[in-house]
Structures are given as C-alpha cells and as structure tokens.
C-alpha cells in the first residue's frame, strides 16, 4: 500500500525535484540492477551466460538450417551468378590479391573481354579467400569450393549476431534475442543464403545489418570512433554489393529526418560528417564504384548523401552565426540565403530541362517505380515487382509482427531507434518494386518483429508471472538510463541555446527554421521526465510485489481491467505463431529454396525422386569435346555456367554489361538461318547452346524467354519486330498457328530440330511440347548452317555446331536459278530444292502471264463494250436533254408571255426593265440549247474516235504481245 502512495506522490513531487536527481535515480536503479546481476552470477545463474548460449544455439541453427541443399544434392555451387563468383574466387586464391585486381578475362564477352578486376564487387571473394587462407594457415586443408559453398551459411550465422547487436542497440536484449532467432530462420533471407548460394547478397546482408548497428551505436553515443567503425563497415558493404546505394541513402535520410523533427544535435553532426567523409573516400577505393560517389551529376544516386552533408554544414554554420550576429542582420542573412537557394533550385531545374543532368541508371529508375521499359532490366525475373504473397511466404508472421514492433518503437521514439522505422518503411517500399529486395526488407522485418514479439511476450508474461520478472525491470531501466543520458545532453544544449538566445533575441525567421526544434525539445523533455517518473514508480511498485499490472500501466492502460486469462491467451497465440513460423521456415527452406537449379529434381508418381542433371551433362560435354578456345553462344542466362562448368569462351553472360552485344545475340536467335549466319561468323561462334524444356516440361527454357530476346534486340535492331513473332490472333504460340517469322527463326529451329519425330506424352501426337502444351507447328526442320552436336538425355540442353564457310563450298547457294533446267537426278538436296522452286516459279510465272494475257484480252473486249454502251447512253442522254431543254424553253416562253401580258396590265412602269431581263434570259436559254446540241454532236464524234482508238488498241495489243514476250524471254536468256 505504501508503494501505491509513493507512486501517487511521485508525479506531484517531480516538478519540484531537481532534474539531476531523477537521472541519479535512474543511475541508482542501474546500479541496483548491476548489483542484482552480480548476485545472480555469484549464485550461479547469469542472464548473460544464458543469453550467450541461446545466441550460440541460434548461431548453429542459422548455419545448419541452410545445409538442406548440400544434404539433398551435394556440395555444389548454385544457380548462375555464384558460378562466376566461384570462378573468380578460384582465380583470387590461385593468383593472389594483386593479380585479381588486374584480372582481365579474355574468355567472356568475346571479343570484348571483361576487365573483371574493375567490374566486380570483390567483397565476397575477399571474404572467401581470407577464410580459405586462414583455414589453411591453421592446417585445415579445406577445398576452396567448400569454402565457397559454405560461406553463405557462415555469413548468415554472423548476421544473426549482427542483428542481435543491432536490436540490442535499438531496444532490449530480449528483443535482440528474438530478432536473432527470426533472422536465423526467415525464409526471405534463407532464399539467398543457403549453402551453395555463393552470391554477393550472402555477405552483403551481414554488412548492411552490421553497418546499421554501428550507425545506431554511433548516433546514440555521438562517438567519432564508432562513426569511423561504421564507415569501415560501410566500406565492406560497398565492396560486397551494389546495394550499398540503399545504405548511403538511408543513413542521410535518417539524419534528415532527425533534422526536420527537431532532433538535431551536435552528436549527429559529428557522427554523420565523420561517416560520410570516411565512407566516401573508402568506397572510392572499390574500382567498380570509382569516382561515382563524388561525380554527383553523373550518379544522382549519391546526391542525397552529399546534400545532407552540405545541409549539416549549413545548419551548424547558421547556428554559429545566430550566436554571433544581431537579429536584423540574421534576418537579412537568412533572406539572402533563401534567395540563393531558390536561385540554385531554378538553375538546377533549368539544367535538367536543358538535359545537362543525366538520367538515373536503369536499375535505380526501376527502383523508384519507373514503368519505362528497359528491356534488359525488366527481363530479369528478380527485377519484377513482388506479389504480396511473397511477403507472407518469405516473412511469415513477421509480416504482422513488424507493424506491432513499429507500434512499440513509436511508444519510445529516440534518435537512433527511429532509424529502424525508416529502414522498415523504405525496405518495404523497395521490396514491393523488386522481388529481389525482399531480401533487404527481411532484416528490418526481423528486427521489428523481434521487438514486437518480445514486447508482447514481456507484457503478457509480466501480467502472468508478476513483477518478479527481472527482464522487464531491467529493460525499463536500460531504457530509462539511455533516455536520461539523452536528456542530459539535451539539457546542455538547451542551456547553450538559451545562452545564445539571451545574447541575440529570437528573430522570426530563425524561429521559423530552428525555433520549432527547440520548442519540440522542450515538450519532449517534459515527456521524458514524466516517463521516467512513471517507470521509476512502476519499479517501486514491482518491488512491492503486489501490482501485477505494472506493465499495462507503463503502457498507459488501466491495469485493473485486465484479466490474466487474456494474457495467457496472448502468450499462447504468440507461441503458436512462433511454432508455425518455425515449421513454415523449415518447410520453405527444404522445399523451395534449397534447389541448386543446376540440378533439377522431380517426383514421380510412385514418390521416388528423379534427377535431371542435363546442365552439367552438357557443360561437361563442352569441356571434353570442344576446342579449348571454342566460342559458345547462348542466351546470357547461361554464360556464367558455361564458363564456370564448361570452361569455354562465351559471347554474353549474366553480367549484362553491354546491351548491344546481348541484343546482337538476341538478333541472331530471332533471325532466320540465312540472316543469323553472318552474325554468328562475325562473332566467331563455334557452338550455339539452347535450353529446351519441351520434353520434360521445364518451363524456364529459352522458348519462354524468347520474347525477351526479341524485345531486347528490337530495342537495338529495329528490323526485329515483336509482333512478327505472334500468331495472327496475337498469341505467342509454337503450334501450327505460329507465324512464319517464329517458325523460321534460329531459336525455334534449334529447339525443335528433330523434335517432330519424338513422342513425349502418351496419347499425344509426335512433337508435343509439354511446356506450351501444343503440338509444334513445324516438324521437318532442316538446318543449313548449323548441325546438331549434342543433346542431353532429357533434351534440356541442345548444342549446335556452326559450320565454317569452308564447309559448304560446293553447296553454293544462289537466290535463284535463271536457266532452263530439266530433271534433277543426283543434285544435292539444296540444289534440288532450288531447281524445284525454280520450276514451280517458272510454271507459276507462265500460268500467270497466260492469265494476264487472257485477262488483258477480256478486259479489252469488255472495255470496248463498255465504251460502246456508255457512249450510246451518253449520246441518247444528250439528245434527250436537248429535247427536254427545248420543250422547257417553249413552255417557259408561253408562261412568260402570259406573265408578260399580266405585267403589262398591272405594272406598265416596269415594263422596259422586264423586257430587258427577258431578252437576256432568252439569249441565255438559246445559248444553252445551242450548247446542249453542240455537246451531243461532240459526243457522237468522240464516240466515233474512241471506237476507232479501241479497235486500234486491240489490234496493237494483239500485235505487241509477241514482241513483248520475246523481249522478256531475251532478258531471261541473258541472265
């Protein structure tokens, strides 16, 4: 009861109490807590050790849950990009660091080559190489392949620790452990970090979270040291992944938000300027990034960070100025400054209108939600917008635990934990645009979800277990302590500001800019004070051991109304959800995310597994059977694998660095053989490789990707038109409806060559495509410049050899045969076809010319008849017209005479005028009659002339047909 009184007393007493004592109270509490902990340790039960063991378990779990793919298949590098990384890592380990930096690869992007040292984010390879060397140093002879395969799980384990640290920094230790548990299992992250997924993201996520941890730490402490550490971590991130852009925009944005929301302090200035300068200089050491971070006009992605850097300087400068100059001068300065800003803004707008500011890069534009089609960016499935199901699939309960966490964070907003809110908001926006960035969203969701879940559990557990739950107590104290520290800092600043204000009175303008912040701070200060009071009161209550509802009170709820049963239900629901989460994660990991995609598996009807190892079969064939410098052309998806597994030169690969080169390959694929052959020869292509799923129903094959090839190449070569590849009814099909362009293009031919002979499904016709569910439209495909070299067991990969010019010397291929020809006995097939075509053409021509002559004759006759008829008609009409006019005239005359008589009677004065008019009219009518008669006679004459002409023409035609024919045949002969 006494405690209750105290709690009531405390608020009223607090304003009177000096602020220092409140902080001192918090310190006291912390000291008490430390003492308690020491006691516990002495007694042999330590929270920290317990926590450490949990974390260790999570660490192991995070590693082992990612080993499904190794167990199911083997220790193999997955997918596409990892093959490149693996190959380059081997080079790094073999040749050393410096040679790796200078690595110019002449076996990819033939004939351009690729300067790998300068076009790669080397963080991943460095990490793997370092681990390899360390392992070998301590006499662990690990193969580099296994290092690469297991790097992603290893880094995922490290990420759990980073998330733990990050969340601990933001919130409480309980939340940190929960978040670490989440990130260890979240499918969104597992999808990119299973064993064998040796890709940049594996390292980058760790780097992101760790950088964020250091950033929040440095914001909290205001320590230059931590900011420098953060810059170092940022450098690691830059070496690891192009996604560093996210960091270098989010961190400045955080600063900006702090600035706008009036949370600006010198800490921020120190931390951000340290971070930005060091981070930028470090990031420029990565060759692929180079000078981009400072070439602000050519890379607007880096503009934000610089802008905030400049803004901070301005803000601190003005703060300084305000303490130095008088009110009037300050107003003048501010006005001038605003004017300059406005002028600059107009200038920039002008520049961008005039086109001096370059556009954002394609990927970045897509990120901002641009719908403008950049085919090569859009064609990547990772760059598609994510469907909402992805969020649930990849994050499960985090999808709604994260908003709960956000609620709790808003309950206790601080300078540094607002960062996680921003992170979540931005990441969720970007992940909505690109499926690939769900990965970036995942850690944010885990942290938020961890906060949400742990807070709720603490809440309910406090209700159930009572205030003896030390965790809640400790958490509160931790928070209070931090708040107190912050408050102290604020107080100092306030004092400083007050000093400044007393020196120079607040001007209106400065008030507009900075006054708001100081006001807010004041308000905030009160809030913090009251909160500290409350928490301290609660602590007192808890020690009294009878108030079960402290936590609710802490939340501002009235504790008396809460039923413990509700808490039980809450706990149960959360636990159930977490159990479901675990099940979901392991199921998703095992089913969806552990396939290497190099080796495919399917289940048969009897449940047994069937393995499709066609890719490796094909690459192995290439490796064993082709010349070492053979050039393999394929769609860029398979470039890395061909190089990685087959060790052969590729034309294009997954590093989509040269759109024109890729478009050229697309052009070759989309052209017919005759058009494609020069392209193939120009690129020195020896083999063409296509992936075909029609036999086993593998849907991500080249025919399904083909429209993208067409789109990409049509962007560069206008002769490729996408609509040509659709059937008449606008469908993209391979069956009989397919357009001629489609059926004759190289891709179609290579995929379906000899497919027409094959039965794929029982009860279906031959040539049944099991992906498109259609019978192919062209079954007897003949290849002229290519020959089938290899087709894998399930037809998934088909390799064709390109014939050299010297291999078809005899079969000289002419567009036409312009000579009289007879039978075709022992001709080669192509010549035969030509002869046949020639014959058909000739007979067709003959028939046509006959037909034309017949038609001509008919037409002549018809014309003659028509002329005669029409002339006769015209003549009679003209005569009739003349008669009619005469009759009319007579009638008119009679009528007019009658009228005249009347007029004469009635209006004698107008007589003379009327007479004149009549005379004129009469003359006109006479003239008309004369004209009509003249016309009639003319027509008669014309008709006669025409008749003569027609007759002459007919005669002429009859005569001329012979010479014309002769001339024609002469021409033929000459040719």
């Amino acid at each position: 009861m006494t405690t209750g009184k105290r709690s009531k007393v405390a608020p009223t007493a607090s304003p009177a109490r000096p602020e220092a004592s409140r902080v001192a109270a918090a310190r006291e509490a912390a000291a008490a807590l430390a003492e308690k902990r020491r006691q516990a340790e002495l007694e042999g039960r330590s929270d920290e050790v317990f926590e450490l063991f949990i974390l260790l378990a999570i660490y192991v779990l995070a590693f082992s849950v990612r080993l499904f793919s190794v167990l199911r298949f083997e220790s193999i590098i997955h997918e596409f990009d990892p093959w490149f990384n693996f190959r380059v890592t081997k080079y790094l380990v073999r040749e050393g660091f410096f040679d790796f930096w200078n690595f110019y690869d002449e076996t990819t992007w033939y004939p351009l080559g690729r300067y790998i040292g300068g076009t790669v984010y080397p963080g991943l390879m460095w990490t793997a190489g370092l681990l390899y060397h360390v392992a070998n140093l301590v006499n662990l002879p690990v193969d580099i392949r296994n290092v690469c395969v297991l790097l992603a799980p290893f880094m995922a384990s490290n990420t759990t620790v980073a998330v733990y640290l990050f969340t601990k920094e933001l919130w409480t230790r309980a939340a940190a452990i929960t978040a670490a548990m989440f990130i260890a299992m979240a499918p969104g992250y597992i999808s990119r970090s299973v064993a064998g997924s040796y890709d940049n993201e594996a390292v980058a996520i760790f780097a992101i979270v760790f950088t964020f941890y250091l950033w929040t730490k440095s914001v909290r402490t205001g320590s230059m040291f931590w900011a420098a550490m953060c810059a170092l971590s940022y450098f690691y991130m830059v070496t690891a992944w192009g996604g560093y852009i996210f960091l270098i925009n989010l961190i400045p944005f955080h600063v900006l938000v702090l600035l706008v929301s009036g949370r600006y302090s010198r800490k921020i200035y120190v931390v951000y300027t340290t971070f930005y300068t060091l981070g930028t200089i470090l990031s420029m050491q990565v060759m692929f990034v180079g000078f981009q971070p400072v070439q602000l006009l050519s890379s607007p992605e880096h503009l934000g960070a610089f802008g905030v850097f400049g803004l901070l300087q301005l803000v601190s400068f003005f703060t300084y100025l305000r303490s130095m100059v008088s009110k009037e001068h300050m107003r003048l300065l501010v006005n001038a400054f605003l004017l300059i800003i406005a002028a600059l803004f107009v200038f920039v707008i002008l520049l961008s209108v005039l086109g001096y500011v370059p556009a954002l890069t394609g990927r970045f534009k897509t990120l901002l939600g641009s719908t403008k089609n950049i085919a090569i960016v859009h064609s990547v499935s990772e760059h598609q917008p994510s469907p909402w199901t992805t969020f649930f699939f990849d994050n499960h309960c985090l999808t709604f635990l994260a908003p709960a966490g956000m609620y709790f964070v808003f309950q206790h907003v601080t300078d540094y934990n607002i960062f996680i809110v921003l992170y979540l908001v931005f990441a969720s926006y970007f992940s909505g645009i690109m499926v690939r960035l769900v990965l970036v969203f995942c850690p944010a969701a885990c942290v938020m979800g961890g906060i949400g879940a742990s807070e709720m559990l603490v809440l309910f557990m406090n209700i159930i277990a009572g205030p003896s739950a030390a965790d809640a107590d400790e958490n509160d104290v931790q928070r209070v302590l931090r708040d107190a520290e912050r408050e102290e800092e604020e107080k100092k600043q306030q004092q400083l500001q007050q000093q400044q204000q007393s020196e120079a009175e607040d001007s209106d303008a400065t008030n507009a800019v900075f006054g708001a912040s100081s006001r807010k701070k004041k308000g905030k200060g009160v809030d913090v004070q009251s909160r500290i009071k409350k928490v301290l009161a609660e602590r007192a209550k808890k020690s009294g051991d009878d108030d079960k509802y402290a936590a609710f009170k802490h939340l501002g709820l009235d504790g008396e109304t809460v039923n413990p049963l509700a808490a039980w239900v809450g706990v149960f629901v959360i636990l159930f959800m977490l159990v479901l989460f675990v099940y979901h994660c392991s199921w998703v990991t095992s089913v969806a995310y552990s396939s290497p995609s190099v080796v495919l598996q399917a289940r048969q009807h009897d449940g047994s597994r069937i393995i499709f190892d066609d890719f490796r079969e094909a690459y192995y064939w290439l490796w064993q059977n082709t010349a070492e410098d053979a050039k393999i052309m394929s769609w860029w998806d398979y470039g890395y694998q061909i190089k990685g597994m087959g060790n052969r030169t590729t034309i294009v690969d997954n590093n989509t660095r040269n759109n024109t080169h890729i478009a050229t390959v697309g052009l070759a694929m989309a052209s017919n053989e005759d058009m494609a052959y020069p392209i193939l020869r120009r690129l020195d292509v020896d083999y063409v490789l296509v992936v075909f799923g029609g036999k086993i129903g593998y849907s991500s094959d080249d025919i399904n990707k083909f429209l993208w090839m067409v789109r990409i190449s049509s962007g560069v070569f206008p002769r490729i038109v996408e609509s040509d590849f659709f059937s008449k009814d606008g469908a993209y099909t391979v069956d009989a409806r397919a357009s001629k362009t489609m059926r004759n293009c190289l891709m179609y031919k290579m995929c379906y060559y000899r497919f027409g002979e094959m039965t794929t499904e029982y009860g279906r016709p031959t040539g049944w495509d099991r992906v498109r569910h259609a019978e192919i439209g062209k079954k007897n495909i003949q290849l002229k410049y290519l020959e089938e070299a290899f087709t894998t067991e399930h037809w998934m990969v088909r390799i064709y050899r390109v014939k050299k010019e010297s291999e078809h010397i005899g079969q000289v291929d002419f567009p036409k045969l312009s000579y009289k020809k007879r039978s075709s006995g022992s001709l080669s097939s192509s010549a035969k076809a030509h002869v046949e075509a020639f014959k058909v053409e000739q007979s067709h021509k003959r028939a046509k010319s006959k037909e034309v002559r017949r038609l001509q004759k008919e037409r002549d006759a018809q014309l003659l008849r028509v002329y005669e008829e029409s002339d006769a008609k015209l003549l009679s009409e003209a005569q009739r017209e003349a008669q009619r006019q005469r009759a009319e005239q007579a009638e008119k005359q009679a009528r007019e005479q009658a009228e005249e008589a009347e007029k004469q009677e009635k209006r004698t004065e107008e007589r003379s005028k009327a007479e004149e008019r009549e005379a004129a009219e009469k003359a006109e009518q006479d003239a008309m009659v004369a004209r009509a008669e003249e016309k009639a006679t003319k027509l008669v004459e014309e008709q006669n002339i025409k008749k003569d002409q027609a007759a002459a023409a007919a005669a002429n035609d009859a005569e001329e047909t012979k010479p014309a024919k002769k001339k024609k045949s002469m021409k033929k002969g000459k040719k």
């Binding site: 040292g117 010349a627 022992s826 010549a831």
Partner: protein, 431 residues
C-alpha cells in the same frame, strides 16, 4: 607374306600420312595458328583419275595425256569406280573427260569439299550427239550447283571464226598470272558454251567467246533466245574454293586433242592450274611479338603496345616452294571490326617470302585477331587468323604523376599545409 604385309603397312601409313597432312591443312586454314599451311594436295605425287568415255579416247588425246602423266600418276577408267575406300579418298584429282551419255553416281562435290580437284570437259554437239548426250545430266547438275550452266548447243560465231561458224576464235583470256604465265594465243574452239552464275564469287572464266558469238538454236523452230550471247558465252571456267581445292569446266574436249598447238597449250595451262601445280600459296611461321623484347611476360599485349607481326608466304612454282612477292597482302587487326588494316611489307633482305609489319595496338582492350584474307583470281586463298589479347593497363602501370594534374597536387599540398598550420595555431597559439 611378311613383305606384303610390310608393304601394305607402308602404303597405309603413307595414305594416312597424306590424310593427316590434308587434315592439318584444313585445320590450319580454319583455325589459323602458327602451324604450317600445306596445300591440300600431296605434290607432286598426285593421283589422277581420268574418266574416259571409252578407252579409245586415250589414243585420240594421247598428246594431252602424255603431258598429264608427266605431272601426276594417272589412272584411266571408262566406267565408274570407287573413289573412296574406308573413308579415304583414293585420288587427288578427277578428270571427267568427255563422259558421254552415262550416269555418274559419285558426288563430285563431296570430293571437292574434301580438298580435291575436279575437271569436267564436255563433248561438243555433233551430228549424232545432242546436247544432253554431250554432257550427261548428273554432270550438268553438278556444274549448276557450282553456278555453271552448260548450253545445249555449240557456240557459233559468224564473224570471228576459223573457217566454219561453229569453230569460233576466242582470245579473251582471264588475266591471272598463275593460270597463264604468258598471254595465250587465240583458241580455235568448237564446243558448248556456258554461262556463269553472277552470285558466285569463286567462279571465273578462263576464256570467253567474242562479242559476236552466240549459242546455236536447238532447231529451226526454236524461238528461244540463245542461251549464251557474246562475252557471256564462257568457253572454259575455273572455280577456286575457300579451302584451296579447284574445279575446271571446259565446254569441249576438242581443246585437248592436240591438233592445234595453241589449244593444247591452253589445255595444259588450265590443267596445271586445276590440279594445283600453279598458283598455290602457303603460309608458315606466323609470329607476333612485342616490339620491345621480353616486355610482357604474360603473353598478351597492353593497349598501345607496338606489335611486330611476321609471316612467311610461299608459292609453289616448278615443283618447289619459293617466296611469294606481292604488295597487296593486307593485315587486319580486328575485334569484330578492323581496327588496323595495313599492307604487309615484304622483307627484301631475307627475300624468302617473309612479310612483316609493326602495328600499334589500339587503345581499346579486347580479344583481337590478326587476319590475313588474301584472295586473288587464280591463287589459292590465304585466309588465316591468329587470336591475341590486348589487355588494359594494370593498376601499377599507370603514370604516377600526370603533368596536367600538378595544379591539383599543389592544391592538395597547400590544403594539407594549411590544415597543419591551422591546427597548430588553434591549439597552441594563445591570444
């Protein structure tokens, strides 16, 4: 038996050696590289198959055959024989000589595709021999595949003839040094004409009729225009394939009968050419290196390096290889497009067919090819390329200090000095 088997063995090894050489030649043509290019035929031990209509012809054309026998090993057949056994060609040359009204199942073009040579000589149309019989269908069709259309009638010329209208005088010869070392004397030609497909760049006429010539009408009722008129009426044509094998088409075997010395000289000239005794080029010793020796140990060039390219080109003249001298052989340095295209310079000091050229690697890195693509009428084509890499500068190969950047260096130095001064002043100088 031991001897026999030994003999067989040596024969087999010889043939396989030949095949190997042929293969090597093909590979070297296709791949470029530094291997020695050997012509497709095993000179001078060539094996020639002459397909005669009847063995009587052997006597009729004995003058010509004597010359042929002096060049190669000749086998005469009056019926079709196997030209391939166990996948190997038994002959290097085939001469279808006045093959009259017979079938031919052998695919001559496969034979040519494999690097061998074929000559086809038709008979002239005479009283009992109409066009179809003078040159049977399969041969006509083989010719058509190469873009050669034989006429059905003899060529006649009412103005430029030797006595009768169907013995035309032809004097428009191809100007090609390897085919005719000196300008041949006018021919007296009696036989079919042919027209050539304009789209086939491999074909060229040895000799054409004069402007006033034309092919005779089939019969009196024939209203069709002549199949070949004027200079389009080609009397003998050659085909030079991309791998070096050759074909000849002649409209009349009468050229070979030896009655007219000029005709015989012409016939011998084109036979020599067709069976690759003349106009055959080979290359060897393709090499390229940095102008500064041992500059780049890694075997690739840097951008802007000076590269010396050398190659030895020889011609087969009178049964031996001598240096081939020309000033129009171009070297291209290409990456998709040619970045450098310059004529190779003949090394007059060595004077053994060695050419060299120093080029500067472009300022664009990539995988380049040294391409020599030399095709001249009458010469076997020289097409070979060597792949090499031009890499960008390594990080330590850039200039440390650029002159143009000295203002910036001084700026940085000034800034650093200023900072130190400021720090010292700020920290230690008290007002």
């Amino acid at each position: 038996a031991g001897r026999e088997s030994h003999g067989t063995f040596s024969m087999m090894s010889l043939t396989s050696l030949c095949t190997l050489l042929v293969l090597l030649a093909i590979i070297s043509v296709v791949d470029g590289g530094a291997t020695v290019y050997t012509p497709t035929i095993n000179l001078p031990k060539a094996r020639t198959l002459v397909l005669l209509d009847s063995m009587d012809d052997k006597a009729t054309y004995s003058k010509f055959f004597t010359v042929l026998e002096s060049l190669t090993t000749v086998t005469y057949e009056d019926k079709e024989v196997d030209i391939q056994k166990y996948g190997e060609w038994l002959y290097d040359n085939i001469f279808v000589f006045g093959w009259k009204d017979k079938d031919l199942k052998t695919n001559l073009l496969d034979f040519v595709d494999a690097g061998n040579n074929v000559a086809i000589a038709s008979r002239a149309v005479s009283g009992d021999l109409d066009g179809d019989e003078a040159l049977p269908e399969p041969l006509r069709e083989a010719a058509i595949e190469c873009g050669v259309y034989f006429s059905d009638t003899n060529v006649i010329d009412n103005f430029n003839n030797a006595g009768s209208a169907d013995t035309v005088v032809a004097k428009d010869f191809v100007t090609s040094q390897p085919v005719f070392s000196a300008a041949p004397k006018p021919l007296q030609y009696h036989g079919l004409a042919m027209t050539l497909e304009a789209h086939n760049p491999l074909l060229f006429p040895f000799v054409t009729a004069q402007e006033t010539a034309f092919t005779a009408p089939l019969d009196e009722d024939d209203e069709e225009p002549p199949q070949a008129i004027g200079k389009n009426a080609v009397l003998a044509a050659g085909l030079q394939t991309r791998i070096g094998s050759r074909m000849a088409f002649v409209g009349s075997v009468d050229l070979f009968d030896g009655k007219n010395a000029d005709n015989l000289a012409f016939a011998q000239a084109i036979t020599r050419w067709t069976f690759q005794f003349r106009g055959v080029l080979r290359y060897s010793n393709v090499a390229h290196q940095n102008k500064i020796p041992n500059k780049n140990a890694d075997g690739v060039y840097r951008i802007r390096d000076e590269i010396v390219y050398t190659v030895k080109i020889e011609e087969f003249v009178d049964n031996k290889w001598v240096g081939f001298k020309a000033n129009d052989i171009q070297l291209e340095f290409t990456m998709i497009d040619a970045y450098v295209r310059q004529p190779l310079k003949y090394d007059t000091t060595k004077n053994d067919g060695t050419y060299s050229l120093t080029i500067v690697a472009p300022d664009v890195y990539g995988i380049y090819k040294f391409v020599v693509d030399y095709r001249r009428t009458g010469y076997s084509p020289l097409i070979f390329y060597t792949q090499t890499t031009v890499r960008p500068l390594k990080l330590n190969e850039y200039e440390r200090f650029i002159q143009a950047a000295f203002p910036y260096y001084s700026g940085v130095a000034a800034c650093m000095a200023g900072f130190v001064l400021f720090s010292v002043t700020f920290l230690y100088v008290k007002e």
